[in-house]
Symmetry: C2
Subunit: 474 residues, 2 copies
């Protein structure tokens, strides 16, 4: 077999990965900063772990099926590892998600960690899937998790609502409005009792679950067809089945979560279907208390497809439904134990950067230019140059330029100068403005400069040694 033609692919990024030139990098930092600030304000502390883990860490949580979706990793130096890889299974995998690392880390230190432990994490994950809109092979991910602490139903509901409130706060921070995105909430235990519905409407339980899981990815017509071909005759059902058919057609899913569901459907629905809504009502009340209920809706379609959820589950979607999920999470009270830790109540969610970024850009919510630089600047360094230093072209001014720039930088200012040969001060002031500099400093002599405020246009003569103080940000 001839070796694959490698000359063509060498100088491109691997499919499904991204190059971030400075403008793209700033947009990514904007999202990362919104994530980090939101998590910190809500009392979560940041952690991190390895970019690759032992492959077993992922199969323990997700089963062998995950092997087809991970990027395998092995050391070229270790003959044992090369042999293993040749057998089709590498010893390591690039993390497809962070939760197994979090569970491993929590389990290893459970005895000495605070109760509860509130952690967030934001780095990249990797999936060997076909790239498409909203889904890449390498993507940024934000995880927020609330672990341990009191096990009462009320405390769990409070933790659930705190995690949902953190998610809602992130959405609000980015400028998204209630109604533009929806936090769809359900409860795994409620979903479980949907088996009852399946039996009453004459559908196999597995078929119903499968339909629920896939519904949001299907055309409504396709879903109706599938439901029908699965043996569900919507129109022929009795009063109870009318409710069920409303549900399968999605009409139950758009009820406003807080006031509407309980009063309009709750009691009757509970009686008719013998469902236990108590856990969901506890979440509902806790969400109401945290005042983010307006972002939430009850939605039975939120199955989350992941076996390890044990209670409340939620997904965040753009209202039109045109995009993949912005975020998803829920309660996973059994997971820490699976990784060798003590029984530990836990709830959390993950949010990727790709879908969120698409939505913010589509809605014009991604700041640009000067506004973006201002948003990302920190006390230690302004992304906008504090001072752009210009020589008036005299030899003594030329000689003073680099020492002044060095001095300003040593005083923790962001200082720039031109690398062009032009001596045209108008052109150089334009270069300063284009870089969004706050001040232009035109060196007039070895001792003095004209300091020009590039926003107001005012200017004054100041000694070179006074520029740093004058240009310091408040």
């Amino acid at each position: 077999m001839p070796p694959p033609d490698q000359s063509k692919r060498s100088f491109q990024a691997p499919k499904g990965t991204r190059d971030f030139y400075p403008p793209e990098l700033l947009r990514r930092r904007y999202i990362e900063k919104a994530w980090r600030d939101t998590a910190i304000r809500h009392g979560f502390e940041e952690i991190d772990g390895p970019t690759f883990e032992h492959t077993e860490l992922y199969t323990v949580k997700s089963g062998e099926a995950i092997l087809g979706e991970v990027f395998n990793v092995f050391s070229g130096k270790d003959q044992e590892q090369v042999k293993e890889a040749a057998g089709g299974r590498a010893p390591y995998a690039l993390r497809p998600e962070f939760t197994p690392t979090l569970a491993r880390m929590y389990a290893a230190q459970a005895g000495s960690l605070p109760k509860p432990t509130k952690w967030f994490w934001q780095q990249n994950c990797f999936r060997a899937e076909r790239p498409q809109r909203g889904r890449l092979r390498e993507f940024g991910q934000w995880n927020v998790d609330f672990l341990g602490g009191d096990e009462s139903a009320e405390s769990r509901a409070a933790a659930d609502s705190e995690v949902i409130a953190t998610c809602a706060a992130l959405l609000r921070t980015t400028g998204l409005k209630v109604g533009e995105v929806i936090i769809k909430v359900c409860d795994r235990r409620l979903i479980a009792s949907l088996g009852l519905i399946a039996s009453r409407i004459g559908m196999a339980e597995a078929t119903l679950f499968d339909l629920l899981d896939r519904r949001s990815k299907m055309e409504p017509n396709k879903f109706a067809d599938l439901a029908s071909s699965a043996g569900l005759d919507i129109d022929a059902l009795d009063h109870n089945a009318v409710l069920a058919s409303k549900y399968t057609r999605g009409e139950l899913t758009v009820s406003d979560f807080r006031p509407k569901f309980h009063s309009d459907y709750g009691d009757e629905y509970c009686r008719n279907w013998e469902l236990d809504f108590a856990p969901l009502f506890a979440v509902e009340q806790a969400i109401a208390r945290s005042e983010v209920g307006e972002w939430c809706q009850l939605d039975f379609s939120v199955v989350r497809g992941l076996a390890y959820y044990t209670g409340m589950v939620f997904e965040v979607h753009e209202a039109s439904g045109a995009e993949r999920a912005i975020a998803g999470g829920g309660r996973y009270d059994n997971l820490i134990e699976l990784f060798g830790g003590p029984p530990t109540p836990a709830v959390g969610f993950g949010m990727g950067d790709v879908v969120l970024s698409n939505i913010l850009q589509d809605k014009g919510l991604m700041p640009e230019g000067r506004a973006l630089l201002d948003r990302l600047s920190e006390p230690g360094a302004s992304l906008r140059p504090d001072v752009f230093v210009i020589s008036n072209g005299q030899p003594e001014s030329d000689a003073a330029l680099r020492p002044l720039v060095a001095d300003l930088r040593r005083k923790n200012l962001h200082a720039r100068h031109t690398y062009k040969t032009t001596k045209n001060i108008g052109k150089l002031l334009k270069e300063a403005s284009d870089a969004h500099a706050r001040f232009g400093a035109i060196i007039e002599s070895a001792a003095e400069a004209t300091l020009k405020d590039l926003e107001t246009g005012t200017q004054e003569k100041v000694p070179l040694a006074a520029i740093a103080d004058r240009a310091k940000r408040p």
Copy 2:
């Protein structure tokens, strides 16, 4: 062959990688912030690329030898890739360094990028090497690169010095002092002409280079033995050879870079050895202009072992020499062309987090506790809680607690409350202090709280609605 025992390794981080619990993560963020702030103040803009690249990207720069040191990556979903991996060579590799990605990105957009282009990058790299002090398999890395622009010798020297000045600024920012760490500077072209020395002292050129490259890792005696066994009879040499033997014994390497080398050795050395010191003197002068010369020394041992350097090279070492290099870099004028771009002058360096972190901690320069939280706090979110909210234990105060916390967070404050059941206000104020909160707010009624400044101890009664304003950071 039985499968390897995988039960033991599943729940540990892979060898040579790190788990970052909140305290370790803060220390990493401290270094990352110092890197980012320094680069921004010097006018560099951040970029990023994929965590893994086509393997050829790395062999193009470093040759096939790099294959033994990278972590190989392949998709388990792609049968072609599995086959390739089974052949011992995977299609992708985790980045062992960022420079090839940078060169690929620059080459792809060279026509439209500013001249010069000043980029920095900080993420993780991966090496399949045996972990030891200062060397891990996954580590943080900061790259600073100055690409393109004017090609004159003076401009190149200015770029060299700007890059070295950025490196020195980072060292200064962390609290390291001149003399505690040394930026050892040399020039590849100078090293090349050392071949002349080799011939005059009767040593094979390759042997001399090999000795130079390995000298810093050897005991002085071992080096002297090797030099001697290579045929170098130090004492039998004439006047010129005395200079050479001073050099091989390391006595020429500790000369103070700026004033000493040129005046004490320069002219005579140049005449005797027919060496071209001009490029080095240009760097020397530019460094002097940028006022970081005090950090630098000329050191012939800086060979950098990497074939792609073309001019100035430097390494940063802790003065005792006990640690691995803190940073290293140099001029690489041919690299962009190698990746399909136009001829492009370029100079840059990389700095890892592991050695720097060890040195800062050993010297007591890593901030801790409240000081560390203050240093890392940003306008958008203080790592120290702004307000720790406490109920006085009355039912109406209990009911007001979570809404107040939610309200403070919505106003972009970092707000916390206890998850403990205790109602003891003294204990709760201690919990607030232990978390380094700035204010404790003890809710006294549905409308009012005692707001206590936890640093000064002063307190006052304020309406709940006024707490956010009162606790806002200046």
